[in-house]
């Protein structure tokens, strides 16, 4: 009996230590999420202005630009997905990975070849474990991305997009990221980055029904040439920021439920330990009483 009491107490100690850690992680995540949300909000004006400009050019120029042209028969499709660098995020990374697998399945059925671009160690680990080919990967900034990261990724994607398919280029670029709907709901989303969905941009203007006639200097082609790489960077930047905020929100929730579970476990173990202690005392008493009465009978 003594051994089981000690065991219970040891387990309770260990769960209490775990609870301290998860509680600390929960607090850290909830303080950082505010920062991540602010960063995401600060990036919005830039994205909004770019959307407006891109839709203005696309609407009024009717150009054949390589970045807006739809491939009639896309062969190689790039999938860019954002996972976390570390665990303890609940289902954050696995939701993204599930969405990616579904998307890859769909591509294969359509006879297209998926080309993977990964952000985050979890995604890299997943692809390595399954021996899946990865075109490019980035890690180390999943919870606090900088604009330089977005530039690096965006430029790589645009470069591969502009390269002919036969030389290892891609015909379409899709991004899988986690959208921060609210603190309690984050959903993995699949969005096409290139070729541009110009129609989408027009809707974004919102308060104006008509895009005014623009004067382009020197000409729409040149403006679009300069605009599109920046546009792609800003999309990537937007996805990175949304994913970072989602990751922290997911972490906060996961750590909160871990803390709650630890608390429950501690209560249960405390009760069991108390029962064991009581049982031990009762047994000791009955042993003493039994011993005493045996002695009395002898006399």
């Amino acid at each position: 009996m003594g051994a089981s009491l000690r065991e219970l107490r040891q387990r309770r100690q260990s769960v209490m230590a775990t609870k301290k850690i998860t509680r600390a992680m929960e607090l850290i995540a909830s303080s950082r999420i505010v920062k991540a949300q602010q960063a995401a909000a600060r990036a919005l004006p830039f994205t909004r202005e770019l959307n407006r400009a891109v839709s203005a050019v696309a609407e009024y120029s009717r150009l054949d630009h390589p970045l807006t042209n739809h491939h009639e028969n896309p062969k190689r499709v790039a999938i860019f997905f954002i996972t976390s660098d570390r665990g303890m995020n609940g289902a954050y990374s696995s939701n993204v990975i599930k969405a990616v697998s579904r998307f890859v399945q769909r591509l294969r059925e359509e006879g297209k070849e998926p080309v993977r671009y990964v952000v985050g160690r979890k995604g890299i680990g997943y692809t390595q474990f399954r021996g899946l080919p990865v075109e490019a990967s980035w890690e180390g900034f999943s919870d606090s991305p900088t604009y330089d990261d977005a530039i690096e990724i965006g430029d790589r994607l645009v470069a591969d997009f502009l390269r002919p398919t036969e030389e290892g280029g891609v015909d379409e670029i899709w991004a899988v990221y986690t959208r921060m709907e609210s603190m309690i709901s984050q959903t993995a989303r699949v969005r096409r980055v290139l070729p541009l969905e110009v129609v989408e941009g027009v809707k974004d203007i919102g308060d104006h029904d008509l895009v005014p006639e623009y004067w382009f200097e020197p000409d729409p082609e040149t403006v679009l040439d300069r605009l599109l790489p920046v546009y792609v960077r800003s999309r990537i930047w937007f996805y990175l920021l949304q994913s970072a905020a989602s990751q922290l929100a997911s972490q906060q929730r996961a750590m909160k439920s871990a803390t709650d579970n630890a608390q429950q476990l501690i209560e249960r173990l405390t009760r069991e330990a108390n029962q064991a202690r009581q049982a031990e005392i009762t047994q000791e008493i009955s042993e003493i009483v039994g011993g005493a009465s045996a002695l009395a009978e002898q006399e």
Partner: protein, 136 residues
């Protein structure tokens, strides 16, 4: 008809400056351009420069811009640049230091696009910080 124009200087990490202005001068790929209130809708690429905004209270606000985009519509100017900074916030010494570093790399033969970009950006920042210094 309004006699002022709304100006927003937007960088990738936030709005660097916004307010009502009397005029805006920036440098596009084709050369300097001045925008007055009620300008027609306009779109052009920007080159790194120190843009000037004449605010309604008569101040000259200098903004260092990287390559980007100027868009005018609905009496509103948006200066979009991935690295836009208000001159008053730039430390002249730090900017000069950065320029010198970029120059050194250029002289060492690194003439790739990125270094050039960096050099021009540093140049614009130094210029903007100097202009702001003169004004003060």
């Amino acid at each position: 008809m309004s006699d002022t124009i709304r100006v927003e200087v937007v960088s990738a990490t936030g709005i660097a400056w916004e307010g009502e202005a009397l005029s805006v001068i920036a440098r596009t790929t084709e050369g300097d351009i001045g925008i007055l209130p009620n300008h027609e809708p306009f779109l052009a690429g920007l080159v790194p420069c120190a843009a000037e905004v004449l605010t309604v209270d008569g101040r000259r606000e200098i903004v260092a811009l990287d390559t980007g985009l100027i868009s005018v519509a609905d009496n509103r100017v948006a200066l979009l640049s991935q690295f836009a900074r208000v001159a008053a916030e730039i430390d002249l010494n730090a900017a000069e230091h950065e320029l010198a570093a970029a120059e050194k790399r250029l002289n060492a033969g690194e003439t790739d696009e990125e270094t050039m970009q960096h050099f021009r950006r540093a140049q614009a920042q130094v210029k903007a910080a100097r202009l702001a210094g003169e004004k003060a």
